[in-house]
């Protein structure tokens, strides 16, 4: 067995730097704190690359298939005689893959932010939070057991909350951060319940035990527990609820668009590349349990993914805030991944979907981060999020333009760029599993191409808006990350994922299925063409079309009124119909009762005061009657 204990450092270093910057950041020069944070991430990144190379290649683990290795573990809390919460590091294909993704993107974002955040108040706070996030995210992917995952899951949520609300003086940002936290928190409740059920029935939190085909989870006796589904299925569905919340799956997605209130690098890191795919990672992590133990739950995953991707794609076509467009596209892409997992089987060829999902996760991280950072550069240049204020920027921002274009092509799925390969695998997997989902994905592919190029054209082409001060290209510290990520977006597709990241660790052969690939490409091209026609030059076409679609356009534009629904539930139901009455009840009924007792005593005392009339003879009366009363009682008792 090979020693990977040092992987412990990968999350720890950012944590240490978080403490360092957090406590003493305000004393040092802003740029210093930024550099420290970046350096920390740099080290982490190097370590994870070393890990990846060792794990996949130099340590020759491939022969018997990639096993998961528990690099390190300690007991953190002792719950019952069976259940103990451990903290540790688990090394296996997907975690290593995630390490690469997170450190790479995070490093890029750090570097980028050095320039982007220049002159901001709370520069050091920003980098402290970034380090905190990186720590939590890395801890999450390295989790050896589901409870450790939950712990870091929460931490990730909080750092996301802090970063979204970074501009805490902006009410909208505060609201957005609150929304994000509470919605995900609600989802996490499902996650927690799922964990409780699962752990109670299996007697363990440990991933290796849970996912081993002979483990207590998968071999758990089935049998309908509730609504015709087994306990395991239910627990897995609950757990997926948590994943859906983090990954902004329909209908828990509403926080993601608002989360764009955060600084753009944050959106790139958290809400495009890493945190939002935690849900996918969760399902992938427990994949054997889903695939072998709870296929019904897996079906749920598939459909949720499919619906979300379509739903988001449609909305994306109508939004005008470029970051929101990207947000919805993220949601739609994650939908792809979920669907891929959903349609996948376990082991060898059947595991295609699993592989594809992770593959797409990887490539998506690259190009979506690129898109966001690009968008950041653009916003940096024109000081606006709305594509209406943009146009003809290509001559002002050459590098941004080039990289952005690459990203768009990639996400549209045009060969030979990365997006094509991963998406194609997903298509194949879907085709083998379920034709309806498959067709949905085709549609989405077209839509994706369309709205991305709509975005692209209306930013860089179209009418040349005259800006009150001419936009200028971002400094190198910002453009270099763009280029690096662009490189990734181009070539990531050639990684032999099917040999590395598979459902059971066994490599298998996957070949391009032209009967599926070619049509998908064509659809993508169609979408691009349409976008070109509509937005290449500014013309009345879009409004006309909008008019034609009419009501449905309006609905899509208003995101199908999901926010309103949520607002109704929270504001009206929870707040208006529960909390207010409860508070009233407490003040007036419960407390009122207590006061009533006191008042009754007082009143009684006023009531009987006339006994003490001050009249000697009345005292006599009372005296004698009292005596006689006693006599009566006594005689009564005595008989």
């Amino acid at each position: 067995m090979v020693d990977y204990t040092y992987t412990l450092l990968i999350p720890l270093i950012p944590f240490v730097f978080f403490i360092l910057i957090g406590l003493s950041g305000h004393k040092m020069k802003p740029i210093v704190s930024g550099l420290i944070g970046t350096a920390g991430l740099g080290i982490a990144a190097i370590l994870s690359y070393i890990t990846a190379i060792r794990y996949f290649w130099t340590d020759h683990l491939a022969e018997s298939g990639y096993k998961s290795i528990k690099a390190f573990e300690i007991t953190w809390l002792h719950l019952t005689d069976k259940l103990t919460i451990n903290i540790g590091a688990l090394i296996d294909p997907i975690s290593v893959m995630m390490l690469i993704v997170i450190t790479t993107v995070s490093l890029m974002v750090h570097i980028y932010s050095l320039g982007y955040m220049k002159g901001e108040r709370g520069y050091h706070r920003f980098f402290a939070f970034l380090s905190l996030f990186s720590f939590s995210m890395l801890g999450l992917v390295l989790a050896t057991n589901i409870f450790q995952m939950y712990i870091f899951w929460e931490l990730v949520g909080v750092s996301s909350f802090l970063l979204i609300g970074f501009y805490y003086e902006k009410p909208s940002a505060v609201a957005a951060s609150k929304k994000a936290f509470i919605v995900t928190r609600f989802a996490d409740l499902g996650f927690l319940i799922g964990i409780l059920i699962l752990s109670f029935n299996t007697g363990t939190f440990d991933f290796q035990l849970l996912t081993s085909p002979t483990g207590p989870a998968i071999t758990m006796p089935g049998g309908a527990a509730f609504m015709g589904m087994s306990v395991l299925t239910w627990s897995m569905i609950f757990i997926f609820m948590g994943g859906a919340g983090k990954s902004a799956m329909f209908p828990l997605h509403i926080w993601l668009p608002d989360a764009m209130e955060g600084p753009t690098p944050v959106s790139a890191l958290i809400h495009a590349a890493t945190m939002v795919v935690a849900g996918v990672y969760l399902v992938a992590r427990l994949f054997p349990v889903y695939a072998l133990g709870a296929p019904d739950a897996l079906t749920v995953v598939a459909w949720v993914g499919g619906i979300s991707s379509l739903f988001a794609a449609i909305i994306a076509c109508t939004q005008t805030d470029i970051k929101r467009v990207l947000a919805y596209s993220t949601m739609s892409q994650i939908g792809y991944m979920m669907l891929a997992l959903g349609v996948s089987g376990y082991g060898g060829e059947n595991g295609l979907g699993f592989m594809a999902s992770n593959f797409h996760l990887f490539t998506h991280a690259m190009f979506k981060a690129l898109l966001f950072l690009g968008a950041g550069a653009i916003i940096h240049a024109v000081h606006s999020n709305d594509m209406k204020d943009m146009g003809g920027l290509r001559k002002y921002l050459p590098i941004t333009h080039a990289t952005f274009l690459i990203a768009c092509i990639t996400i549209a799925g045009i060969p030979p760029l990365a997006g094509f390969w991963s998406k194609d695998e997903i298509m194949v997997a879907a085709w083998h599993h379920n034709k309806i989902l498959f067709s949905i994905e085709y549609l989405v592919a077209g839509l994706t191409a369309f709205y991305m190029f709509r975005l692209y054209f209306s930013i860089f082409w179209g009418k040349a808006t005259h800006y009150h001060h001419t936009p200028h290209e971002a400094p190198y510290v910002m453009t270099i990350p763009l280029m690096v990520l662009a490189f990734g977006a181009v070539f990531a597709g050639f990684l032999p994922f099917h040999a590395l990241v598979t459902s059971d660790g066994m490599p298998f052969e996957s070949h391009l299925d032209y009967s599926i690939a070619i049509p998908s490409v064509l659809i993508a091209l169609l979408g691009i063409g349409l976008a070109t026609a509509m937005y290449r030059k500014s013309n009345g076409l879009p409004d006309k079309l909008a008019g034609i679609w009419g009501i449905s356009y309006k609905w899509a534009y208003h995101k199908f009124y999901m926010d309103e629904v949520y607002l109704f539930v929270t504001k009206k139901i929870i707040f208006g119909y529960i909390s207010v009455p409860v508070a009233w009840f407490d003040r007036h009924i419960v407390d009122g009762f207590m006061n009533l007792i006191a008042r009754t005593v007082q009143n009684t005392s006023n009531l009987i005061k006339n006994f003490q009339s001050g009249r000697l003879q009345q005292y006599g009366y009372v005296f004698v009657t009292g005596a006689l009363a006693l006599v009566l009682i006594f005689v009564y008792l005595w008989n």
Binding site: V601, S605, Q612
Partner: protein
Amino acid sequence: MSIYDFMTMRHELILVCLVLLVLIIDLNLKKSQKHRIIPIAISLFFIHTVIGFLPAQTGELFGGMYKTTGLTILMKNILNVGVLIILFQSTTWLKKEENGEKISEFYILLLSTLVGMNFMISSGDFLMLYLGLELATIPMAALAAYTHHQSRSAEAGIKLILSSALSSGILLFGLSLIYGSTGSIYFDTVGALYSNAPMQVLAFIFFFTGMAFKISLVPFHLWTADVYEGSPVNVTSYFSVISKGASAFILIMVMYTVFHSIAYLWKDIVYLVAVLTMTIGNLFALRQKNMKRFLAFSSIAQAGFILLGIIGGNKIGMTATVYFVLVYIFSNLGAFGVISAISAKTGKESMDDYDGLYATNPKLTLLMMLSVFSLAGIPPVAGFFGKFFLFTSAASGGYYWLVFIAVLNATISLYYYLLVVKAMFINKNDTPIAFFKSDIMTRIGLFVCALGIFVIGFWSQVYEFIDKLTFAIIN
């Protein structure tokens, strides 16, 4: 029967001599020097108190009419200490002009009532009991009417003398029936012969009402408040602790020894009366503004608590009652001491006058707070222990609900005791009672109370000592 046998009634004899001595000395004092009697009387009584603690012989006299046991001696000593404190506290008030000529009357009357109580305590038959009772009551009426130029004082006097006459009339009627049905007035004989024949039950009730009047149990309590309010403060405190304590003691003695054969009957009555007394007393105390009246009602409630000790009907009850009386003397005298000190200096007796007292007279305030906490039964002061043991005795009889009612009443009482604390500490007042210093004797009296309130609780020997003595009576 030799002369030495009379030493068994040493307390009473010395007291009687003391009274005569004071009288004689007073006759030889000029008008202007009347106040000289104060130190003399106090020192004499102090000596008497000290002598009281010397080992005394126990036994019977007059064929059992008069009994002296360890417990009676203890009780007398407790009363002596209480009276001594009262004498100390009363000096400031007595020195006032208005009392110029009749200072010694105060002592003579007070001490003669004390003689009565001593006889009552160690009475062995109903005749002695009745004698003591009357001797303890009639001079008291005179004391109540002590400041005769005040109409309230006179009213207090008449209310006391007449209603006590009525009650003792009823009591006597009961006694006559007892005599008629048993042919004896000696406790032992009566106790042996007593049964639940209707006439004897009737007799018992009449007797009980008479005693209930003395310790002011509801519904025989109505005189209490008025008399307490009308009388001079120190006399009031004397009523509320000394006479009440003595009567409670003899009541419990008689209940346990004479009427134990019908205990199953009187327990129910005591239950009822206890609940009534506690509740009514508290309900009235809630609304009082005059401190004396307020304490009058609170002392009625306290009497209700005492009944919990009686109802236990066993050794714990006896001990707890005596112990409670001891604690009660100190706590109540503490409170009355402060009131008398203030009313002697300023003549203010209303609770509103006490607003903001802490700012000006912190020491008095603290003593007052200690006393009311002790009365409310709040740890760590003695009252807590007293109540706890009383309730324990009731619980030992299985009267859990009675205990519950009692504790709830204690909570209500805490409310009005806290009102006093609130007045002194929290309420704002533009014209608080100015700072003043009482004379040395008064201060000694107050200090002793404070000491007692603290020590008696923690010092478990006190309780154990009482327990040893009661063991001799009831076993």
